[in-house]
């Protein structure tokens, strides 16, 4: 579904991504972790062509987004929902209008249909009673959920999450994790999550990859990831008190807090 082919990105003279090759399969939750400034968000921005690789190619669903222009790029972008760190809601619009924006601007549908779909979307993220509020009247967690409602309103095939749980308390963070897991399970959406939050990553991911000095340490399942011996991965895990026997087995109960249909893993 998403493929990086020998992607290198140089920003300000510094190599942020170094000859990265990566494949993300349809329907999986793929988590990218790494320390601050390691290039996680840069990786996400390449997928939606907010950035263009210095070298290499990025493909999404067969479209080379790194070279796409005009209608082709628009078509590729229509596959995506993108949750930004701060939600990126437009401040002068209510939550409802923010969520309705992609429909009103891009799709020729009646206002009644817009209202129906916005309410569905808001309900999915638990904000059905907060549509009238403005972004500065709601909490950070609610802003992220509103951003997520906007990201899923046009029924995307892929959702990219940029630090979905950063700055949130642990309970809200787990609620967001559960939401990501639920959307993936209910709508069959491919999810790419960029996070520092290793606990959340272990709970919801199908595969986890760590970005170290511009390169991905071999992507692996959460169970294998927490047993990794790579020194940088180990240091990251140890800093978050995740022992090799870890918490991968506990994911089901934790995720089930906010999920209607907890996934079963092999």
């Amino acid at each position: 579904m998403i493929r990086f082919e020998q992607v290198t990105k140089i920003l300000g003279g510094q190599k942020i991504l170094d000859d990265v090759s990566l494949t993300i399969e349809k329907g999986e939750i793929f988590t990218i972790i790494g320390s601050s400034g390691s290039g996680k968000s840069v990786t996400l921005k390449h997928i939606v062509r907010l950035l263009t690789p210095t070298h290499g190619k990025v493909f999404v669903d067969g479209i080379e987004v790194s070279a796409a222009e005009g209608a082709e790029l628009e078509k590729a972008r229509s596959l995506f929902g993108y949750l930004f760190q701060g939600g990126a809601l437009l401040g002068w619009m209510s939550v409802f209008d923010n969520v309705a924006l992609p429909l009103r601007e891009r799709e020729r549908i009646s206002e009644a249909e817009v209202e129906k779909r916005v309410m569905e979307s808001l309900k999915m993220v638990g904000l059905e009673n907060d549509g009238h509020k403005f972004p500065n009247e709601i909490s950070g967690g609610m802003q992220k959920r509103a951003g997520l409602a906007r990201a899923i309103i046009h029924r995307p095939q892929i959702i990219l999450y940029d630090e979905p749980t950063s700055g949130l308390d642990p309970v809200t963070a787990r609620t967001i994790d559960a939401l990501i897991h639920r959307l993936n399970a209910e709508l069959g959406i491919t999810s790419v999550v960029v996070t520092h939050d290793l606990q959340g990553a272990v709970l919801i991911s199908d595969r986890i990859a760590m970005l170290v000095r511009g390169k991905f340490v071999e992507p692996s399942t959460p169970e294998a990831f927490i047993k990794a011996t790579h020194p940088d991965v180990r240091a990251f895990l140890d800093a978050q008190f995740i022992p090799p026997e870890g918490m991968a087995g506990q994911w089901q109960s934790a995720v089930a807090v906010g999920s209607k249909t907890p996934r079963t893993k092999e």
């Binding site: 950035l51 972008r77 993108y82 760190q85 990126a88 401040g91 891009r106 906007r150």
Partner: protein, 270 residues
């Protein structure tokens, strides 16, 4: 070619003179592309009812919200002009012709010039700050990902509103300058108000009015183009927004001066 916003994440932190010149041309080129693309998107502003609403909202922000400042500045510019020139003219017993002086200078230069400066300071700065804040908060990137062209959604209605309101404000400021001059002529120079007005109206020339309004239109385009570009180029959070706002105002001021002279030179030859 379309305007692209990748400069926001530009790979350039160049230092050599050649690269700085290259950057300068790149910025001018991007500004031109941005403005041209916004103008080409004007038909959408007419066809789409939401875009029309946004245009009206921007016209209100540009026009109505600037009215108090334009009113005061227009009045006082006319009063100062009448006083300064009138005192000199009185030495030659020509103070009755002060109306002509105020009218011509307002129509040709002061109306458009003062409106340009006011719009740079009030409207241009707010455009740069608003779009800059949206940029650093990823709101512009969010629009791009939703396939909503930020130029169509944000720049085009602002540009259209400025192109309509700037000449109107310039004309309004001319009218107030003449009235302000009349008040000073009557109270300080003892010139009857009706005599002042008759001479002022007689000396008004359609050509001067046309050049003045054209200047105001060009200033409107320049201020919007510069301010929106600075907003879209903003990086580095709150500091960046401050820098973009200052840059937008300074560059707009300078362009109003330089381009104002160039247009005057084009239309008035010795």
């Amino acid at each position: 070619m379309r305007f692209t916003r990748e400069c926001l994440y530009a790979d350039c932190e160049e230092t050599s003179l050649y690269q700085l010149i290259q950057q300068l041309f790149s910025i001018v080129g991007r500004g031109t592309l941005l403005t041209v693309e916004a103008i080409l998107l004007f038909p959408y502003q007419v066809v789409n009812h939401r875009a029309r609403k946004e245009f009206l909202r921007q016209a209100y922000v540009v026009g109505i919200k600037s009215l108090p400042v334009v009113t005061l500045v227009g009045l006082f510019i006319g009063m100062v002009l009448a006083l300064q020139v009138g005192l000199e003219m009185r030495r030659f017993n020509q103070e009755y012709y002060i109306g002509a002086g105020v009218m011509i200078s307002s129509l040709r230069e002061m109306g458009a010039f003062m409106t340009g400066l006011i719009l740079s300071a009030c409207v241009g700065s707010s455009m740069a700050a608003q779009i800059g804040t949206m940029t650093v908060n990823d709101e512009i990137a969010a629009l791009e990902i939703m396939s909503i062209n930020p130029v169509r959604y944000l720049v085009a209605p602002r540009l259209a509103a400025m192109m309509v309101m700037s000449p109107l404000l310039a004309f309004y400021s001319c009218v107030l300058s003449v009235i302000g001059g009349g008040i000073v002529a009557k109270t300080q120079l003892s010139v009857p108000f009706m005599t002042y007005m008759k001479i002022a109206v007689d000396s008004a020339d359609r050509y001067d009015l046309f050049v003045g309004l054209l200047k105001a239109l060009i200033f409107g385009v320049l201020i919007t183009g510069i301010s929106c570009l600075e907003g879209l180029r903003t990086t580095q959070g709150a500091v960046g927004v401050g820098r973009a706002t200052r840059q937008a105002v300074v560059v707009s001021f300078l362009m109003v001066l330089v381009v104002g002279y160039m247009v005057t030179r084009m239309f008035y030859t010795l």
